[in-house]
């Protein structure tokens, strides 16, 4: 079985010289949902930006067997959809429908096809009623759903969600987990939200200092790295 994503020895250094990634190996198989844990600044987001060629470092990144390079980038960006942390940066078009259709028009769909696909994607995330609204009048949870719709509309093979629950209230987090669990794609979640990860992911990897320090089940990684505030190692209780 070809892995959907295969990364070997990925290293990346920012222009100012800081090494963000120092030899990352990673693999994602079809149907899998993996969570990336790790402290802030450990390289999770930098890593994710390599998966559709927004950044390029040393080492190899392959998506569905295709190496990520200049020639393959349009194809790769169709296969890997990223939902970014800040929905406001992602929703830049004047209306919800135009935003969801943005990627489709770029892919060359004609207007009618783009509109019907965008409407279908909005129905999937339960936001059909908001089609003609402006993104800035939506709540954080609604914005996130529209952002997901904009990616889902392009029917990618891999869905990457960067801190999807960061600005959501608990009911919003629950309903997003519900939504994401029903999407058919293989997924990579970057999050600090343990219940969210537990609900969705079979496997967890832990980033530290620009490398993957450990891999295992979500429970395993959480307990090994004392990664949960709400139980176990919280020193505030004592």
């Amino acid at each position: 079985m070809t892995p959907l994503i295969e990364v070997r020895g990925l290293c990346f250094r920012y222009e100012d010289g800081t090494a963000a990634l120092r030899g990352v190996d990673f693999r994602l198989d079809p149907g899998e949902t993996v969570v990336l844990f790790g402290p802030n600044g450990s390289g999770k987001t930098t890593f994710v930006l390599h998966l559709n060629g927004l950044l390029s470092g040393e080492g190899t990144v392959r998506v569905c067997g295709l190496p990520v390079d200049k020639r393959n980038i349009p194809e790769i960006r169709r296969k890997v959809g990223i939902v970014f942390q800040d929905s406001d940066s992602q929703l830049f078009m004047p209306t919800v429908l135009e935003d969801v259709a943005f990627g489709l028009l770029n892919r060359g769909f004609d207007r009618a096809a783009a509109i019907s696909r965008a409407q279908a994607a909005l129905a999937t995330v339960g936001m059909s009623a908001a089609a003609s609204r402006a993104p800035y009048h939506l709540s954080a949870g609604e914005k996130k759903r529209v952002a997901v719709a904009g990616i889902v509309a392009m029917e990618p093979e891999v869905l990457v969600l960067d801190e999807p629950t960061a600005s959501l209230d608990p009911p919003g987090q629950r309903s997003l987990a519900e939504l994401v669990s029903h999407l058919p794609q293989a997924k990579i979640l970057v999050t600090h939200d343990i219940p969210f990860a537990l609900a969705l992911c079979q496997r967890a990897v832990f980033f530290q200092g620009g490398v993957i320090a450990a891999e295992g089940t979500v429970e395993d990684i959480v307990s090994r790295f004392d990664w949960d505030f709400s139980f176990g190692g919280s020193k505030l209780r004592h």
Partner: protein, 244 residues
């Protein structure tokens, strides 16, 4: 905030809202020129044109008093100059400044309150304004909501850090604090622009925006354009005849 209210108004539904933005732009241009070039019988002309705009507002089902009050943002500035003109022995000019600037501002507001800004900008594109400038304007408007919110948080934070102190040193410190806040806001805005660009690339942006729906100039738009352009001209001719 002002632009939030205007945004709500502009997304209403009325015969005026539904007109092609180009028809409204044309009518607006004619109205503004009719006002700008008027010299005689302003005391009669101004109420006539005001009635015309008020009728449009009612037709557009917008809150009349609310819109009339918003257009009054020009009054302080115009008022100062009217006063100065009066002092300089030219009260007629003072009155004309007040009337003309208020009417013009109200006319622009009527169009802005019946046309969502993105549609208005597309209307301007089709009249030949550089596309790049309009896309910049669209991003500017979109992120006005986001960046102003960030700025408000910062203002509160700065106020919380002892803005009560009054002596000279405190003023210097507050000046620096404000400059620091703007430095941070600048850097954040810049980073946000990079994020937006990433999000665009990530969805296969190919270098140009494609509109989702073509704007169609219907017969009703043509009719509106003709009538709405003729109206201020006819009002002016009638008033100036009557005043002769």
């Amino acid at each position: 905030m002002h632009h939030v209210v205007l945004d709500r108004w502009s997304r209403g539904n009325s015969p005026v809202h539904r007109r092609d933005p180009r028809a409204k732009i044309l009518a607006l241009a004619v109205f503004l020129i009719a006002v700008a070039t008027a010299h005689r019988a302003l005391l009669l002309l101004a109420p006539g044109l005001l009635l015309l705009l008020a009728a449009t507002l009612i037709w557009a089902r917008l809150p009349l008093a609310g819109v009339l009050a918003r257009a009054a943002v020009v009054v302080p500035f115009a008022g100062v100059f009217a006063l100065i003109s009066g002092l300089a022995g030219d009260p007629a000019r003072g009155l004309s400044l007040m009337a003309k600037s208020y009417l013009s501002a109200l006319a622009v507001l009527v169009v802005g309150a019946t046309t969502p800004l993105p549609a208005l900008l597309r209307g301007f594109e089709m009249t030949g304004v550089p596309r790049f400038l309009l896309i910049v304007g669209q991003f500017l408007y979109r992120y006005l909501f986001v960046i102003s919110e960030e700025a408000q948080h910062m203002r509160k934070a700065a106020a919380a850090r002892g803005a009560a102190a009054r002596d000279w040193m405190a003023r210097d410190l507050r000046f620096r604090a404000a400059a620091g806040a703007l430095g941070v806001l600048f850097a954040r805005s810049h980073a946000r622009a990079e994020d937006i660009h990433r999000a665009m690339l990530s969805r296969g942006f190919v270098g140009h925006f494609q509109p989702l729906e073509p704007i169609r100039f219907r017969r009703s738009d043509a009719a509106f354009a003709v009538l709405a352009s003729l109206a201020p001209i006819l009002v002016r001719i009638a008033v100036e005849r009557a005043a002769r």
